[in-house]
Structures are given as C-alpha cells and as structure tokens.
C-alpha cells in the first residue's frame, strides 16, 4: 500500500541564495507572531502553544485512507489556524516543524525557514482568512465544515506552489556553465505544475477530508473550540488585496514560454514533430470564451489580461457567493443550529 508523505524540503535542495532569504523573511514573522500571541494569550501561551505544536506534530502521524489502498498524511495547519488563530498557528506549526527536523530528521536544518514559510505561514493565513471569508459572521455547522474543507484545500495548494517556486528557481539562479544543476534540478515550468498537480489531486483532498472531518466532529461535540477566535469581521482589506493582485496580472504577459504541460497543438507539433490523433481530435472540442486570457475585441494585450482577471475573479466570487447563499437558505429552512453558531462579534472580543 503506498504511503504518501507531505512537503518537507530536506537540506541540499535549496541553495544559500534561497534559504538565507527565507530565514530573513521568517525571523521578523516569528518576532511579530510571538508579540501578537503574547498579547492575546498572555501567560497561558506556553502550554497552549506547546499543546498546539504537539497536536500539529501528532496529526501528521495519522494515516488517512484516501483511495484504493493508498494513505496520506495531513499537515493540519489550516485546522490549527481555525482553532488557535493564524498567528498562534505560525508559532505552533513552526515549533512542530523544528521538532520534526531536530528530533526526527524530517526536513532539513538550513531549510527550516523555507518549510516554516510554506507550512506555518502560507497555509495558516490563506486557510484561516479563506475560512472566515466563506464562513461569514453567523455560520451553521455545515457551512463551517464546507468552509474549512475549501480553505484547507486551497491553502495547501498555495503552500505547495510556494514550495514548487522555491524548488523551481534553483536551476535559474544556480547552475554550472555546462548546464549542470547544483541544487533542485527542475525549472519553474516543471516544479510548480508538478507540486501544484500532486496537491490538487491528492494532498489537497487529504487535507480537506481531515479538516472537514475534524471540524464536523468538533462542531458536534465541542463547538466552543471553534469559537475561540473572534467572530468574523468584514474582510474589506482582502478585497483590496484581490484588487492589487488583479492590477498585477499583466506581469504574466512578461513571462516567456508556456507552463510545462500546458502546450497547445502547435507547441506539441514543434516539440514532438507530430500531434497525437486523440489530442488533435479532442483539442478543439471546447472553445474557450477568453482563450489564453485574451479578451475578444481587445487588441491591447495588457488590457485584455486585466479584463480576463476581473472576469475570472468575478466568476469565482459569484460561484462561492451562490454556494454560500444556498447553504444559508438551507440553514434558515432547517432552523439555526445553536451548536454551530458563533457568538456576535462584540461578545467574543
């Protein structure tokens, strides 16, 4: 039975140019996280963080059956962020990763900062804020469960893309004159899709299953654990971040070439010398409304990219909003579930 493990980067895969930068990024994050946690948890921080870190460590040891005979392990960082909050999750997951490296040799010494960035910063923050965004301010149990699953899935995929980026820049920034790779050997066009794909298809599913299962069990038996963090406040700043990201999308026009595996039939022809018949037959079945992120009728590439980004974000938000509205209507029909409802914003501080 295959036993598939998660995304710890060992020593030797990242060059000094990368891991030193990751340390420089992580040290201030740890300092800020420690200050934030000290302010909110006071003297209770030591046992709560220690137990949070112990739980973060232990959850990675559970074998979760996925499909066939295969099992996987979850990172659990989104779950910890939902229970303890994102800043406490930064500390708890970082400590768990340090102990994994220092006590069990899982993950490297020089790569600790990179691993902490991917798993103790990116996953908790993306997961926590996505959870709160989808959950809204008075979520039912089912909405909590679905929100946690979506948040955990997206967060681990984003974390994996970050790890893929760190791997993928190695051949670009460090290689011998003859082309010999000195660290991780696969370029961005291979490393990022490879990491993203395995997490989209497998690890993301494991993470979502685990997070949804635990949140459902806690909502049923110990709902106050899901209410330790303040109730949702309007996340207007998140819309500002989305707006800035939309404005930055034309940067994609500057990137040369096509992502690995995303070739069209003309690129397949130039690479292989022929186009496989199945590809040729099925390739033209679906005509995209905005092929290659261009906007029909708009000749300016940058403007077309911007419009494509706005349309894409609007569609994603619309679908999420629609699903949320449907769930909320179902909840109203079923009657509110007091066990799964968070207290009003001013009650929990």
């Amino acid at each position: 039975m295959p036993d598939i493990v998660a995304m710890h980067i060992p020593d030797g895969y990242l060059g000094p140019q990368t891991y030193v930068v990751m340390w420089m990024v992580m040290v201030p994050i740890w300092v800020i996280a420690a200050r934030k946690v000290k302010r909110t948890l006071k003297a209770k921080q030591i046992p709560l963080l220690a137990l949070g870190a112990a739980f973060a460590f232990v959850i990675m040891m559970f074998n979760v059956p996925v499909i066939g005979g295969s099992t996987g392990h979850a990172v659990g960082a989104t779950l910890i962020a939902i229970i303890l909050g994102p800043w406490a999750a930064v500390i708890a997951v970082s400590i768990a990763l340090v102990i994994q490296a220092g006590l069990f040799g899982d993950g490297g010494i020089t790569a600790i900062a990179a691993n902490c960035f991917n798993m103790a910063v990116v996953i908790p923050f993306v997961g926590y804020y996505l959870y709160r965004l989808i959950c809204g301010d008075a979520p039912s149990s089912s909405r909590r469960v679905i929100s946690s699953g979506v948040a955990a899935y997206v967060a681990i995929v984003v974390g994996a893309i970050c790890a893929g980026f760190e791997f993928g820049i190695q051949p670009h920034i460090a290689h011998a004159a003859g082309g010999q790779a000195l660290y991780a050997p696969y370029k961005l066009s291979v490393a990022v899709p490879a990491m993203a794909l395995e997490h989209l298809l497998f690890f993301g599913v494991v993470e979502a299953i685990v997070t949804m299962g635990v949140v459902a069990a806690l909502a049923r038996t110990e709902p106050e654990l899901l209410q330790m963090m303040p109730a949702a406040k309007p996340l207007r700043w998140l819309w500002a971040v989305v707006g800035v990201l939309i404005l930055l999308t034309p940067i994609g026009v500057l990137a040369p070439g096509t992502a690995w595996g995303e070739w069209g039939s003309d690129q397949i022809q130039s690479r292989l010398g022929y186009v496989p018949s199945g590809f040729d037959k099925l390739g033209g079945l679906w005509k995209a409304a905005m092929p290659d992120y261009t906007t029909p009728g708009v000749s300016n590439t940058m403007l077309g990219y911007l419009i494509a980004a706005v349309v894409g974000v609007a569609l994603c938000v619309g679908i999420a909003w629609g699903a949320g509205a449907l769930l909320a209507r179902r909840r109203n029909n079923d009657g509110a579930d007091p066990a799964g409802t968070v207290p009003p914003a001013n009650a929990s501080g």
Binding site: P10, Y13, F55, M61, L103, G105, G213
Partner: protein, 296 residues
C-alpha cells in the same frame, strides 16, 4: 448475566470486507507512532554514549555541525561532497552511534529519495548536453547525471550532519544550548514542553490505534476508516486543549511567574575550543578545495 461493556465489544465488520493482505490501517499507524517513540528513546541512548561529539559542549557542537551543514550547501563539487559524506561517517564512527545504522538512515531514506526525484532530470529533455547513454528515445546527458550526483551527495552529506546533531545531542542539551545562545526563554520553554506533550500524545494515539486493532475484525471501507480517523483527530484536539488548561493550572499552582531559570551552567573546556577551531579551519579548507575542483 450482565451485558458486556459496549466499548469492549468487538466491531465485527462484514466478512466481504476482509480482503487484502498486510497491516490494517490501525496497525500501520500504531507501528509508525511506536517507531517515532522508539526513535526519540534511541536518540537519547546514542547521545549518552561516550563518543567524541557527545563529550563536546552542546553549544559548540550545535554551532559547528550547523556550520558544516551550511558549508555543504555552498559546495558544488561532487568529489568534495563525497569527502564530506566520508567525514560524516568518520564522525559517526568516533561518536559510537553505529556506522551501519547511520549509513542506512542517510542513504536508504534521504539520498535514495533524492535519487528517485532527481533521476529524470538527467534526461536530455530536462538537461541538454553531451549524451552519455541512449536507449531508444531516452538519452541521459553528462550535465544531467552530474546534477543528479551533486544533489544526491549534497543531500547525503547534509542529512549526515543533521543526523549527527540528532544522534549525539540530548534534547535537554539542545535546549540548554539554544537558551545559552539567547533564544527567548518562552521559546525554549515551549519547545521543552512540546517535546514532552508530543510523547504523551503519541502514546495516546498508539493506544487508540492498538485498541481499535485489537477489537476490530475485518478492515472496513475507506469511508468508515476516514470517519474513524477524523473522529480520533478531533479527540486529540480536545485532549490537547484540555491538557493545556490543566498544565496552565499546574503552573499557576506551583507559583509560575514567567521566569525560567536554568540549573545547568555550561562551561567551555580546552577540547571545545580545539574542536571549534578545527571545524572552522576544515570548513574553510573545504570551500577552498571546492573553488579549485568545483564546476564553474
């Protein structure tokens, strides 16, 4: 006749589901958890042996082994990296940690994984260059193979130095070293408490899975097993939070004020200075040798 306790009744799953060989999910998790606990206990045992590295001051040992790990990351020559792999084996031997098990741990896990991940990068598709071996459409190139060799030897050397830290240093000594290096007390205390609580939770998880294994006939479906696993994870969350409250109460009851004085006073001895100087000189020599023989 009284009814048996419900929690002691076996879960009898349909015979149709009793298929497939090997270990059950519960047994597999219990074994891996037991393995983790054994690893921690073995680390403490090897760290107590009278070897070269064990006799050093923990601060000096930690700093010099990390210095070696950092040096490994700057080296580009396969031959120099092989020399560093040899150095890790030599240090393992003089530290009496068991060269065979040390080599097995380094090569059978870290280096083998690196080889499996990196090997496709030797194909001409990923790394163009002079062909070394061609079988049909598959061509391995010289820079590709050298890249694989560089990665595998670097991973082996780095994993070796990391393993020497783990196998020759007690966890309590590591915490003393970190404390002496001005890491905030709250971080050191949290690390210390985390290690203890990890062992406690691991034992709980092992017992949960052994109990499941001993009272379950058949294997169950993936859906049933997933539901069971996530319920147990939720239990671990609840237990963790409850234990945090209990520990905090105990800290308050014992008069915890936030100050964490250490009773251990570390003192550098001549052999620590000699080892530190030798390590720095060796790292400088390694980097110089790499400049001469390494790829440009």
């Amino acid at each position: 006749m009284s009814n048996p306790c419900p929690c002691c009744q076996p879960d009898i799953l349909p015979a149709a589901r009793r298929r497939g060989g090997g270990r059950s999910l519960a047994r597999k998790t219990a074994d891996s958890v037991a393995g983790a606990i054994t690893d921690v206990l073995q680390n403490e045992e090897t760290a107590a042996r009278p070897g070269l590295l064990q006799r050093l001051d923990p601060r000096v040992k930690l700093l010099t082994l990390v210095l070696f790990a950092v040096t490994v990351s700057f080296v580009h020559s396969v031959w120099v990296l092989l020399g560093l792999v040899g150095l890790t084996m030599l240090l393992a031997a003089v530290s009496r940690v068991g060269v065979a098990s040390f080599a097995r741990k380094v090569w059978a896990s870290a280096a083998l994984l690196a080889l499996l991940i990196a090997l496709p990068s030797a194909l001409s598709y990923f790394t163009p260059g002079q062909a070394v071996l061609s079988v049909g459409p598959v061509t391995l190139t010289e820079p590709g193979l050298m890249g694989v060799a560089t990665l595998v030897t670097r991973v082996a050397a780095a994993a070796g130095f990391a393993l020497l830290v783990i196998w020759t240093m007690r966890w309590s000594d590591l915490l003393h070293a970190l404390s002496a290096m001005r890491l905030p007390d709250v971080v050191v205390a949290t690390l210390a408490m985390t290690q203890k609580q990890i062992l406690t939770l691991l034992r709980t998880v092992e017992q949960i899975h052994l109990a499941r294994e001993s009272r379950t006939l058949g294997r169950g479906t993936n859906r049933e097993n997933r539901a069971w696993v996530t319920e147990r994870m939720a239990f671990v969350v609840r237990k963790s939070m409850k234990t945090a409250d209990d520990v905090y109460d105990a800290m308050l009851a014992r008069g915890f004020t936030g100050a964490m004085p250490s009773l251990t006073h570390l003192r550098l001895r001549p052999r620590d200075w000699v080892w530190a100087a030798a390590s720095v000189a060796l790292c400088a020599a390694v980097l110089y040798a790499d400049r001469i023989v390494g790829p440009r």
